[in-house]
């Protein structure tokens, strides 16, 4: 395998909340120009992991390495300054504000000096429009409210914003989970583009069908622990799905369903012998 330095690396990271072990001994490497898919069911520790990466939580044990150097983030602002941009599920978008106002929220380009310092709206509008055009969304009017955009387009604005402001590591929290098929494909295409631009992308999802086409590697989480990281060429979609859902649990589910089916059949046989099938059914 390559001897490159990973853009971001977690070494034996654990996170405890009191007596709750939310993450235990997670190791993961993400290289620039790669998409790492973080898969896991609800409660697997996905959220805790990204919050640890983005500076919201400090790891209880273990190290975070950015470009080979150990880092400790005091707050999300420090992580952002270091080039780790996180697009959370709420997107940090304000629906009633315009696309441009949202795009530059907190980092407005200014012109003039002293008390006459003002937002350079011409430049801001142009950049917002350009950045959106790059991802294939033709914004008619960057002063239209973000609320008029579709969910997928909003997601793209949030990602475009992170990329424009110099993210080296892009963390996407369930970017496709609330989207329809067509909108999800818009976002997935953009993730592929961000990878081509040399970003290290961490894509959190529980949808293997969204993850598989764009991913270079997978890390599977289960109940706070890691089931391991796999290169895409080493693992098939079915294997991923199986590990994620927990093969053993699915098998027991199969057995249970078969049991239901058997008892239904028995009921049917019994009721066909009986003259009052409705009353039997309601008793059952």
């Amino acid at each position: 395998m390559s001897e490159r330095t990973p853009m971001i690396e977690m070494r034996n990271v654990s996170k405890h909340f009191g007596s709750v072990i939310a993450l235990s001994d997670i190791s993961m490497k993400v290289f620039s120009g790669e998409v790492m898919c973080l898969l896991g069911d609800n409660g697997a520790g996905k959220s805790t992991l990204i919050k640890t990466l983005s500076g919201v939580h400090r790891p209880t044990e273990g190290q975070l390495l950015l470009n080979g150097e150990e880092v400790r983030f005091k707050s999300p602002a420090y992580a952002l300054d270091a080039g780790i941009a996180t697009v959370f599920q709420d997107l940090a978008m304000i629906p009633l504000m315009s696309i441009t106002r949202n795009f530059f929220m907190g980092r407005e380009p200014t012109i003039g000096w002293g008390p006459f310092k003002r937002i350079d709206w011409k430049r801001a509008d142009r950049i917002a429009k350009q950045e959106m055009a790059k991802i294939g969304i033709d914004v008619r009017d960057p002063s239209q409210p973000v609320g008029t955009l579709s969910g997928g387009e909003r997601q793209c604005v949030a990602i475009a914003r992170a990329v424009y402001f110099g993210a080296k590591v892009l963390i996407l929290d369930e970017p496709t989970s609330a989207l329809g098929v067509k909108q999800a494909s818009v976002v997935l295409r953009y993730i592929a583009k961000a990878r081509a631009d040399g970003l290290a992308v961490i894509f959190i999802t529980h949808n293997v069908h969204h993850a598989y086409p764009v991913a270079d590697a997978f890390t599977l989480l289960k109940r706070g622990g890691s089931l391991g990281s796999f290169r895409k060429e080493d693992i098939s979609r079915e294997e991923v799905l199986n590990m994620m859902a927990g093969g053993a649990e699915l098998e027991s589910l199969d057995a249970e369903l078969a049991e239901f089916q058997r008892s239904d059949q028995q009921d049917q046989q019994a009721s066909s012998a009986n003259t009052t099938p409705l009353s039997r059914a309601s008793n059952a």
């Binding site: 999300p76 978008m93 937002i119």
Partner: protein
């Protein structure tokens, strides 16, 4: 294919354009501005009184100055209340701050012989402190500003009455007029501007004069200048500066704003300080105008300011609104209050009108917001 034979022939222009870049009619764009409702309301009210109050003197220069002065006083606090409401908070302590500021100006000047400018500065300093406390309490406790400032509504009113009675034994302090002449700072809050222009216009015979040839309206009251100035500055701040963007962001979604690096706490504290300052400006103008301070001044002004702001198109939930809208809301307020007086309708009805106007404005705003979100 079947879809080629569409039943309704679409216009050639629409057929050429992509559905996303279709042209938006001008009126639809205008509808998404928050001030639109207030502008329509202003035109409506103005038209009504031009007809109903014709020949009563409401629209002579003196009458116009009258209702503009009413609008100006409210407009000054409404501007600050608008910024605060766009920033997602309320300030119910504005009215009480007016009463307290008046006392803080009058007592040191009249009872202790302070120069008026220093008394005014004291009032501004205290207002700044009150705003700072309001803002910090809201930030630190996470309580709704409605509750925090409701507390200060009573605290400040009580302080005004308590301090005034403790130091002077009265709740009204008069005699401020004697201290105004020669005080450069106080003169910012008293008198009229453009008096020369009005005298000149009287000489030319363009405006009405009295028997001595002096104009009936000698100038523009300074309160109107303050009002227009504050509205202009607030509009510029909101639309053109990063700070304005932070105000919208803080009110729209404080959490999202914080995640994007907006200093939400600082924005809110500064906005609370601004509403307290605006109340102090109001108090200065009133004290200089009447020559006295009274502890019950400014009663219910905080609610009137909120009404003006809401009529002006701001959302109670924050993140949306305009300073120009608040100015128009205040203008409607002044027009109706003076219009009812001029037309001879019992002034008791003013409050009925005010309540109805508020409800109509809120319903209209909600409707407009939905439209704005659909305007794709």
């Amino acid at each position: 294919m079947q879809s080629n034979t569409s039943p309704q022939p679409s216009s050639p222009a629409a057929a050429q354009q992509d559905e996303r870049i279709q042209r938006v009619p001008f009126w639809k764009k205008a509808l998404s501005r928050p001030e639109l409702g207030a502008l329509a309301g202003t035109v409506l009210v103005l038209a009504f009184f031009i007809v109903a109050a014709s020949g009563t003197g409401m629209f002579t220069p003196a009458g116009i100055v009258n209702f503009l002065e009413v609008a100006a006083q409210l407009g000054i606090i409404a501007t600050a209340a608008a910024l605060l409401m766009i920033g997602g908070e309320f300030d119910l302590s504005i009215g009480s701050m007016i009463g307290l500021a008046g006392i803080l100006i009058a007592i040191p000047a009249v009872e202790y012989g302070w120069p008026l400018w220093s008394a005014i500065l004291l009032a501004f300093a205290c207002a700044g402190l009150v705003g700072w406390i309001n803002g910090n309490l809201v930030n630190k406790t996470g309580l709704p500003s409605f509750i925090v400032t409701l507390g200060f509504l009573f605290i400040l009113r009580g302080l005004a009455i308590g301090i005034s009675r403790l130091l002077t034994g009265r709740t009204q302090i008069g005699g401020v007029h004697d201290h105004i002449p020669g005080d450069w700072f106080a003169s910012l809050f008293s008198g009229e501007v453009a008096t020369g222009l009005f005298a000149w216009m009287a000489e030319q015979g363009w405006i009405a004069t009295n028997f001595a040839g002096n104009p009936l309206v000698t100038g523009i009251p300074v309160s109107i200048v303050w009002w227009l100035g504050l509205t202009a500055v607030a509009t510029w701040v909101l639309l053109c500066t990063p700070y304005g963007n932070w105000i919208f962001a803080s009110g729209g979604d404080a959490n999202a704003a914080r995640n994007s690096g907006v200093p939400v706490h600082r924005v809110k504290i500064s906005l609370f300080m601004f509403t307290a300052f605006s109340a102090t400006i109001f108090a200065c103008l009133q004290v200089m105008d009447t020559g006295s301070a009274d502890t019950i001044r400014g009663l219910l002004k905080e609610l009137e300011a909120i009404i003006a702001v809401v009529i002006g198109g701001a959302l109670l939930t924050g993140g949306y609104g305009s300073a120009i809208g608040a100015a128009l809301g205040a203008l409607i307020f002044g027009l109706v209050q003076m219009g009812i007086f001029y037309t001879g309708v019992n002034t008791d009805w003013f409050q009925v009108f005010l309540g109805v106007m508020l409800l109509v404005a809120v319903l209209f705003n909600n409707f407009m917001r939905k439209k704005a979100m659909e305007a794709k």
